[in-house]
């Protein structure tokens, strides 16, 4: 068992003995250290300890979540062949790939950059965009859209304004320069995210089936290339403490967060796609993201069932004197590892010379199954590749139901003697809800993002889903995408909240005219070692998995971000869901905005009746309580099928689902397209035990559609046939007034006034000074 140790490292500071303290500082448990010794048959060197610590981190190994993630369906049952078929499954590669027909496919994935963005919002968010774009083009796909899912504290806080300003500027800086349109996203403002914002970035790319590339190292003797930017000491990240101890220099002048270079990324995209288009040249390719050179070498070797050996002297370096620990753990951006067929070295080198990028041959594929790293010719790490990937520990954490749920789940407005709204209260509530940053227009954000580059954007940000035209050879198809997760619901009922996130995401796609293809998720939670946090995670995953199976929407990849804790405790559980949908014909692309005053409004799904977890309770009454709204997946499916059928029959002029703020907010948002519209709404025939719940409750599975007057009867009849409640609630008008009649109140607002508050709320808040 005992193997001979490696020779001394060329850098003497790396030859210090491995003490329990050093192991602890690497975030590894003693039992994990024993496991490392078992894999190696000896003590690790310090370089090897660093390599294990990053590869066995939650980020790379999913050691606390892997058993949970197995619950997700990874195949689409109804698509053994053809559109919707999963071509690359979750966990196999850097991103999943789905067949969209005619020999074409889409690759997509979401990933978090929460902690870097909390420390340095601009670079943290920028490199989050850069990283997810690399995950997509490494699969052989051309990136055609990005979206973002963001969570911040309340905008009253100067610290939150500073974070928001930095994150938005960082996303804009990177995405605008790279030239991938940012077509949508979602954002919530809630105290639970104060100090711990969430920054999740998604990218989607297109490719032909035969262009799919894998992160595999195979073929004894095939050369291994390092391409892109040079390696620096930046982004030693989680391991930065070690570099402090190891180096005479102060770590204080090294950025803990990586710095992105979107121009370099743009060149890398073009050069890599050009290289991958050369027939038969590339064996495997993987980006260097988290854990950089370490992760890309051991993962490609492990996937290929091969070994890799590299010489660090050949790695392009930004500064002199870097040691093996620093080079292996650097998270410098815009770098890729490429394995090509032996004898074709000149072809890859010519492509990268054209783009003025490094292409350095750093090593070759072996048949040893080991990752062998040399520095100045001396072996500094020699590890079985699979020990770093499949050999990582897996834990099942303890879960216990948080005590607060006893109180919140029992809360009812009657039990709490919450007075219902009177007409004056309802009159005042609507503008307050519309101007709350969570509900208000996100124009201040998306006008800073280039959302039109590549000239494919068919539905711009601000509608229920972003829609992009894909140019597929001679033909075209439209892709719709929506991000959703109401963390408030997940806090109040984790399982149901996650199901709602999925149901709402699919509803948003249906409103855009799209059938769902597949889902990617970003699980943002607190510390998994706290049983209450782990309970939330476990329940949310169970809810998502159930909804995915019910709707037959497979999960093709995603990301887990744990330890999201603010000074007041964990964030609201936030399992962000993003589903990609397909629209076959341009005529079916549907927006939430009523195009003109020629429309009848029909509410599908029935009158809202619930108040629990609503923005109304939060904004007007200052409460985050009650149970999350009920979810009925079968009813949801009937609604969405009906809606898609009516859109394809050409009867729907606009469609918008009820979400935060409820029915009246939804109607207003439909009127905020072309100026000058109003609506006459009559709800007096609807059952309404409470006025507040009818107007502002967030019961699920509801959509308002605007249809031509002549089509109204047909839509009502189709709804009846499909078993979907449908109520004619009024008409779009040309008078810029919103009038609402209920059994108990007659209300009226000026639409221009409502719109002004909704449109400028975030902009006005951001004019106030932020810290720093």
């Amino acid at each position: 068992m005992k193997r001979a140790g490696l020779p001394p490292n060329p850098d003497p500071v790396l030859n210090q003995p491995i003490t329990p303290g050093l192991v602890r500082k690497h975030g590894l448990l003693q039992e994990e250290f024993k496991r490392i010794r078992g894999h190696l048959g000896r003590d690790p060197t310090l370089t090897e300890l660093g390599i294990f610590s990053v590869m066995w981190s939650e980020h790379c190994s999913y050691k606390n979540t892997r058993p949970l993630l197995k619950e997700f369906p990874t195949e689409k049952k109804g698509a053994a062949a053809g559109i919707g078929r999963v071509l690359v499954r979750a966990g196999e590669e850097n991103a999943g790939i789905i067949d969209v027909g005619d020999g074409w496919a889409v690759a997509f994935k979401i990933e978090s950059h929460n902690h870097p963005s909390a420390i340095e919002p601009f670079e943290g968010a920028a490199t989050g965009v850069g990283g997810i774009i690399r995950d997509i083009f490494t699969m052989g796909a051309r990136p055609v859209l990005v979206t973002n899912s963001l969570r911040f504290g309340e905008l009253e806080s100067p610290a939150t304004r500073r974070l928001l300003r930095g994150v938005v500027a960082g996303i804009a800086h990177y995405g605008n320069c790279v030239g991938v349109p940012n077509v949508g996203g979602d954002i919530y403002f809630d105290r639970s995210y104060e100090g711990n914002p969430l920054v999740n970035a998604l990218c989607l790319g297109t490719l032909r089936h035969e262009q799919i590339r894998r992160g595999k190292a195979t073929g004894l003797g095939n050369p291994v290339y390092y391409v892109g930017a040079a390696t620096g000491r930046d982004g030693l990240g989680g391991a930065s403490f070690a570099s402090r101890e190891l180096s005479a220099e102060s770590a204080a002048d090294r950025p803990a967060v990586q710095k992105g270079d979107p121009f370099m990324e743009k060149l890398l995209i073009e050069a890599c796609l050009e290289m991958m288009a050369v027939p038969g040249l590339v064996v495997g390719i993987q980006d260097m993201g988290a854990a950089g050179l370490t992760c890309s070498t051991c993962e490609t070797a492990s996937r290929g069932g091969a070994g890799i050996e590299i010489e660090l002297d050949r790695v392009p370096q930004r500064e002199p004197g870097m040691n093996s620990y620093e080079i292996m753990l650097s998270e410098s951006q815009e770098r890729m590892l490429v394995i090509v067929h032996a004898g074709r070295e000149r072809e890859i080198e010519e492509v990268f010379a054209k783009w003025d990028l490094h292409a350095a041959r750093v090593g070759s594929v072996t048949d040893t199954g080991r990752m062998l790293v040399r520095h100045h010719g001396v072996p500094v790490a020699d590890i079985p590749a699979s020990a770093l990937t499949d050999g990582a520990p897996v834990y099942v954490r303890e879960a216990s139901r948080p005590a607060y749920l006893d109180e919140t789940s029992r809360w009812t407005p009657e039990g709490a003697a919450l007075a219902d709204l009177d007409p004056a209260g309802a009159q005042a509530a609507l503008p307050r809800l519309l101007s709350h940053p969570t509900i208000a227009s996100k124009r201040w954000i998306y006008r800073q993002y280039d959302h039109m580059v590549q000239h494919g954007t068919a539905v711009e940000p601000g509608s229920d889903a972003g829609v992009v035209r894909l140019r597929l050879g001679g033909g075209e198809k439209f892709i719709a995408i929506s991000n959703d997760c109401n963390g408030r619901y997940c806090y109040l009922n984790p399982r149901r909240g996650a199901m709602i996130a999925m149901a709402e995401c699919l509803r948003n796609l249906a409103c855009a005219g799209a059938s769902p293809l597949a889902m990617t998720d970003n699980l943002n939670f607190g510390n998994p070692y706290k049983p209450e946090s782990f309970y939330q995670l476990k329940e949310c995953v169970a809810g998502l998995a159930e909804a995915c199976r019910f709707f037959d929407v497979p999960v093709v990849g995603g990301n887990v971000s744990l330890y999201n804790e603010s000074p007041d405790g964990a964030i609201d559980p936030t399992p962000t869901v993003s589903v990609v949908g397909l629209i076959e014909r341009e005529a079916h692309v549907t927006r939430q905005f009523a195009p003109d005053a020629h429309g009848r409004l029909i509410l599908l799904g029935g009158a809202p009746t619930e108040l629990g977890g609503s923005q109304f309770l939060g904004i007007i009454h200052g409460k985050k309580t009650g149970d999350a709204p009920a979810v009925d997946l079968a009813a949801e499916k009937r609604l969405q099928d009906l809606l898609l059928g009516q859109i394809r029959a050409g009867r729907v002029r606009a469609a918008h689902d009820l979400s935060e703020g409820g029915l009246l907010v939804a109607v207003c948002e439909m009127l905020f397209g072309p100026a000058g519209l109003g609506a006459a709404v009559d709800l007096s025939a609807l059952p309404a035990p409470r006025l507040d719940a009818l107007l502002f409750g967030e019961s699920q599975g509801r959509v308002v559609v605007s249809v031509a007057p002549a089509d109204g009867p047909a839509v009502m009849a189709e709804a009846k046939g499909a078993g979907v409640p449908a109520d004619a609630i009024g008409a779009v008008t040309a008078d810029e007034r919103l009038s609402v009649r209920t059994a108990r109140a007659s209300l009226e607002w000026n639409v221009a006034g409502l719109r002004a508050g909704w449109e400028t709320s975030i902009e006005m808040a951001m004019k106030r000074p932020g810290l720093g």
């Binding site: 121009f263 006008r447 993002y449 580059v453 035209r469």
Partner: protein, 227 residues
């Protein structure tokens, strides 16, 4: 007819410009790499939008030294048609082929939105009679704030060199200027994107009319055929 679209490292609207002319107007269109020193036979040279060389120094300041720019200068001096869109406009200003300069937006933020534009009388091909008094085109830039000295400003007006003005100024440009042409009338530059306004689902299809009007500055007969 032969349209040449330049590709600088960091150009990211090269495909958009290509498709405006190639798919939108169905004209023979090709790319020219920035390291090329010759343009070949071209009837219009387009400098597309993007972030040439990352625009880290100053927009267009490095791109103007690209090998291909020598050929562009010579081509323009011979009277050849040149169009710079967004970053292309910035490069043409840096190269001295168009007057003025483009600095950071007054908001200090990038702006992506659709703008209403007033069409100016800039000659027989480009005027309200050809394009209508108002058109709508998207913008997407962080440095589109047009500046010029007093003398230059006077010359722009006297020679009818202003092509377009913003109705609701999004970037602080002097006199709301969104696009200009050279004194000789063969070099055009504009911050708005005609290459984002030619598909059915775009905010407008006014990009097609703008592209035709620019070609008409040199080929009035030919344009009627593709109109």
């Amino acid at each position: 007819m032969n349209i040449a679209v330049l590709q600088f490292p960091g150009s990211n609207c090269d495909q958009d410009a290509f498709h405006l002319f190639g798919s939108g107007l169905k004209l023979p269109t090709r790319f020219v790499w920035h390291k090329d020193t010759r343009l070949g036979e071209a009837d219009l040279v387009v400098l597309p939008g993007g972030f040439a060389y990352g625009d880290y120094l100053r927009c267009g300041a490095i791109a103007r030294f690209s090998p291909v720019m020598g050929a562009v200068r010579e081509y323009a001096q011979r009277g050849g048609l040149v169009l710079g869109i967004c970053n292309g406009f910035q490069i043409l200003c840096e190269a001295g082929l168009l007057p003025g300069a483009l600095i950071r937006n007054s908001s200090l933020e990038f702006r992506c939105m659709t703008c209403e534009l007033k069409v100016e009388d800039a000659g027989p091909a480009f005027n309200p009679g050809v394009l209508g008094p108002r058109i709508r085109l998207p913008i997407g830039h962080g440095e589109g704030n047009f500046r010029i000295d007093e003398a230059g400003r006077g010359k722009l007006v006297a020679n009818r060199q202003v092509l377009l003005r913003y109705v609701d100024n999004p970037n602080g440009s002097l006199d709301d200027i969104a696009g200009v042409r050279s004194e000789a009338g063969n070099v055009f530059g504009m911050m708005p994107h005609p290459d984002r306004a030619f598909e059915r689902y775009h905010p407008s299809c006014d990009g097609l009319a703008v592209a035709r009007a620019i070609l008409a500055a040199r080929f009035p007969g030919l344009i009627r055929k593709i109109a």
